[in-house]
Symmetry: C2
Subunit: 469 residues, 2 copies
Amino acid sequence: MDNDSFRHYGHMFVDWVADYFERIGELPVKPPCDPGDVRTRLPENPPVHGEPMDRIFKDFQEIIFPGITHWQHPSWFAYFPANNSPPSILAELLTAGIGVQCMVWQTSPSAAELEEVVLDWLRQMLGLPEGMTGVIQDAASMATLVALLSAREKATNFTANQKGIQSPLTVYASEETHSSIEKGVKIAGYGKENLRYIPTDEKFAMIPEKLEEAIIGDKKNGFHPACAVGTVGTTSSTAVDPLDKIGTICRSHNVWFHVDAAFSGTAAILPEKRWMLDGVEHVDSFVFNPHKWMLTNFDCSAYFVKDEGALIRTFEIHREYLKTRVDTEVKNYRDWGIQLGRRFRALKLWFVIRSYGVEGLQKIVREHIRWAEMFRDWVEQDALFELMAPVPVSLVCFRLNDGRAEGQLNELNKRFLERLNQTGKMLLTQTSLRGKYVLRMSIGARLTEEKHVREAWDLIRSVAEKLVR
Amino acid sequence: MDNDSFRHYGHMFVDWVADYFERIGELPVKPPCDPGDVRTRLPENPPVHGEPMDRIFKDFQEIIFPGITHWQHPSWFAYFPANNSPPSILAELLTAGIGVQCMVWQTSPSAAELEEVVLDWLRQMLGLPEGMTGVIQDAASMATLVALLSAREKATNFTANQKGIQSPLTVYASEETHSSIEKGVKIAGYGKENLRYIPTDEKFAMIPEKLEEAIIGDKKNGFHPACAVGTVGTTSSTAVDPLDKIGTICRSHNVWFHVDAAFSGTAAILPEKRWMLDGVEHVDSFVFNPHKWMLTNFDCSAYFVKDEGALIRTFEIHREYLKTRVDTEVKNYRDWGIQLGRRFRALKLWFVIRSYGVEGLQKIVREHIRWAEMFRDWVEQDALFELMAPVPVSLVCFRLNDGRAEGQLNELNKRFLERLNQTGKMLLTQTSLRGKYVLRMSIGARLTEEKHVREAWDLIRSVAEKLVR
């Protein structure tokens, strides 16, 4: 493809994306698509000869696009959001165009230095302690794994890298913690048996006294407590673990304290929500995802550490082919995580923060929270529904409850969710809280307006009434 | 930013990228930039109010761009290439615009099914065995870690995930293997002490007899050999380990056989280079990076496994909030690797393969190899230079050797490389082969033409002559 064709299709695709945002509200959020529908329309073998972009784009529109689940839809209330934004998309275009690989400072100085600056902006925006240093990881799963590995090394005086784990190390997280903690514990070689799930209170937040009991018990039994993970905004219900108490316990027992604030961390840019991070000064590592609720395209996970030396010592490897003249003067991010190769992801973050400004981002997040509180009030005031968890940020957990026996409610709500999502007019997902099947109304897509939340509630009410009658 | 502004800047940025490709050849490959140059020009605090895109783009051009190392430069001969291409950039634009997150089938059916189809296209293009299944990982470091974890689980009958490693497992790779093997061995909890570096022959390829000796010795000493890594195209010199012999040994000792073909794997699309993969039928897992030499934007690493069940069993985690109605009928790629969240990376691969066709890609790769062979001949025919390794694909390892004592050559070549790169007219990097400091001429950027290789050689000769006189 020559440069002129690139211009031509580039303009066309930019317009297609702009048009997409104008019509997205009318599309079904989740496509009416069955397994195999797309695959069977694609050839089994690669083309021998090059094909014109017109034909490729036509197939994109006719085969691929109808099978897309629209994460940017204004009625996207599923999982957590992964919102993008015009400035972020524009930055992704430049990133793709210049195509640099940011493994070390030398392989793109401005990418490395912009990452350093923008991550410090984020640190300030969230009110993380001075002296914490940030680095972009691709996803919170990865950042949490990086934290678990750093904790492993610190607990073994950096010998596990050399010898493996010689005597059992334990990890602690609430029973509501994300699946990535278990995944990381397995990958890092702790063994799932050494992961302790700490009970939660009525708000689904970790009970710190139970954490301390577990640590003391493990120590007595010859285990070495290595890491505790606090969650700010659990996946099921955005419960907030009490960082201050957990942090104090970790300090007194010399346990690495990692905080997973993947979704809810963004809310800490609001002064009225900063309480969620009270106690963060005790933290050894902290992750939140601008790619969830801060208008920055996936993937972009912001990971902060107190002791960058411990991080680097965990991951650094010296090879002649990677050495540069300035290695002692610069940050070479290849040593700050697992991947060697790295995309230039700081650019989109810089575009987003500058384009919206801190106030602009606060305004958006504040509105999402306001709508969630409005929705929570509707649920509470309606006899047909039951609120299933507090609403600290923008997720409302609720279920249909028409008074029938508890044993029948899970099945009822499963059917309810299916009916709702079959309309194509919105998408919700589910979770389980103390064994109860719960619907999650998660607000945070960029294009969502108050009217979409109101329409969602109207639809929820009408589907519910039909179902229980 | 409203939709009209997005159109406006989108068009502008597309044109900027197109212009960039037209003028890139005149830019210094590596910017004349010192540590801190970029950082000190950026504000320490995030902006409170949103800023216009004009100003952001101006700063991009004036502050960021001058500190970019130009990986897409026609005279990029450093590291390995990470080439992009117009169809790939266009696909990245669409990917960023629709902003889907591909953790499970439901979160974008066509992304999941396109990934399945396109990875099978790649399997066919490389001549990997039927029945191997592919999945996109972000980088080869990650794919190799995934392989090491799968091997760990298989060797322990899937108990390491539960209990950690209970008795020492060993891993084998050649002394020329990539740093990511050591990194993965550490992360997965094997311990670096249990990584055996196998000696290499005069071509820097693993000596299979030495591998078998090591395995047998370890077994005698109570170790459990778990995984051997073969490299097709080492980072230092693109040496090719003999897969057939290694594979036979792995089979007979029940050792997981992983192949890292990160860069050179792309060459296997050429019938005349397919010999590099002879024996690949013995392989349990295989990785190569379309984001290096196949015109697909970083990141996009293609990982293939023989037993997808073992892969899934290593990584799957069931949580209510991730369940979908179709889980038993579809591929949910969240269970095929470490990250939960996943970008829609199959799209760019599909655009690239269709746009160039297999023949088009072959033609490009074949030219790169031809120029490398040409360059190798020049080196061999010039008394001032010494060829330091065979040239199986498109990397030429050489050094300046004017006949002075061996002990002085490393220092001389260090200075030589610095002088060359200071010209800004090309970028080479170095490696070490048996303690000898070696320059790497790596050919594979999309915009490189024969004339750039000729110009590089002329420059190399003239800088060398000035240096030794």
